[in-house]
Amino acid sequence: MHDFEPKIVAFVCTWCTYAGADLAGTSRMQYPPNVRVLKFPCTGRIDPVFILRAFQKGADGVLVSGCHPGDCHYMAGNFHARRRFAAFRALLDFIGVDLNRLQFSWVSAAEGGKWVEVVTDLTERVRTMGPMPEFKELEHEELWSTFAEATAGKSTGLNITGDRSQVLNTPELKEAYDSIS
């Protein structure tokens, strides 16, 4: 079995970070080959759904990188992105995603070195964390599995708020419920 090689996806803007990564290349700097770069015009174009999708499709770490504040080629795209991702991070954190797998950075066209540093740090960090199982597992699970488990008395030990009998508030529903459990 191979050692674990993390899959890292980088969403970058074309003007600053993509150019910074180009500079790392022309300067012949070295960094781990785990990263796949997806080019966007601007960090403002990057939808949180893309990050979600990347995790679902097997990414172990995601990097979002664009121009430093004030340097946006489109004036304000990175400012909007900054707010959007500040909110998205909070959400991921709340549902229990380890934020160490998600990195944001400003890398300018002149910062080849910083690109290498950011990519290397993230790759090595994720390597020590191991594969990200959460979203991948979901892909293979079927509906009702945990529900059936819970209702069959094999409780997951989690506190499910409210009393289910109130949800199933008609005899008909209750009957249906009983028939599946």
């Binding site: 959007r84 959400l91 549902i95 229990g96 979901l138 509906l143 599995s145 945990t146 949800v167």
Partner: protein
Amino acid sequence: MNAKANKNQLTSIEPAYYEAVTEAIRKEAVKILKEDTVVGVVGYLPGRRKGTATPALVTSVEEAEKLVFSPACVNNLSVYLTKAKKGVLKQGKVGIVAKGCDMRALAGLMTESQLQREDLFIIGVVCPGVYGFGVERTGTLTEANIARKCRECIVHMPEGADVAAGTHAELADLTPEEAEEMARIEAMPQAERWAFWKEHFSRCIRCMACRQVCPFCYCEQCLCDKNRPQAVESSPRPAGNMAWHLVRAMHLAGRCGGCAECERVCPMDIPLNLLNRRMAKELKELYDYEAGLAPVEKGPLNQYKEDDDQSFIK
């Protein structure tokens, strides 16, 4: 204004209060219908069973005289103006009975150009709270039967209504359940948080009631119904469920006024309002923004400041 100075430390809101509010709503509704100020009023009629109420669009004086307000008036009526009864706005000005949370939704919808203030006649209700689910509906509102969301309500008195029905009424010393629940989840180890939500989301049957009842899910085509490309798997499987609830929370961030209708209608008892509340808390902390307190030009995620927090960015 000053809650502490309120001498009436109420432990219950008696039916008399609701009768008074009902009277005020009826009077105002009848008046604006008679005067042809509005083509109809969205409000509540008594439900068929005792202790219930049902949303309705009334267009005649006779019907308006039947309007009610009680703790059973749980529905957020603003949703009717962007969805089921959207067409009525084309015929003219519409009256609407609005509790604090309905008002927050209305303000948000005005912010998003979905409603125009001049198209509405808002009968604001000074609302002490509504019933929670599965509680005893005695006609009296107490700490025992008030809804979770109402325990942390910040808009009892709708600002910006045309008229207000009711006077100051608020239950004293309510403990915030949702905030506590949120703190409990935040305090969990990360893996446990994941397991908690995974369990909840796994049960989702994708009935889309949460979307249907939400005043802000007014898109004609939901991103989650799109299949080219398919960002969110549409069948009720755990992967798609997780994606759906994350997308939903993200789309409502900075917009949701906290009416918790999504949570109320969820047949699978998923604590959806916790997600909305968590996002609201974040945006309040980061950008000092609370959704729906008044119509604004731009929501928190549609604007920026040059010195916004970026401590999370390398």
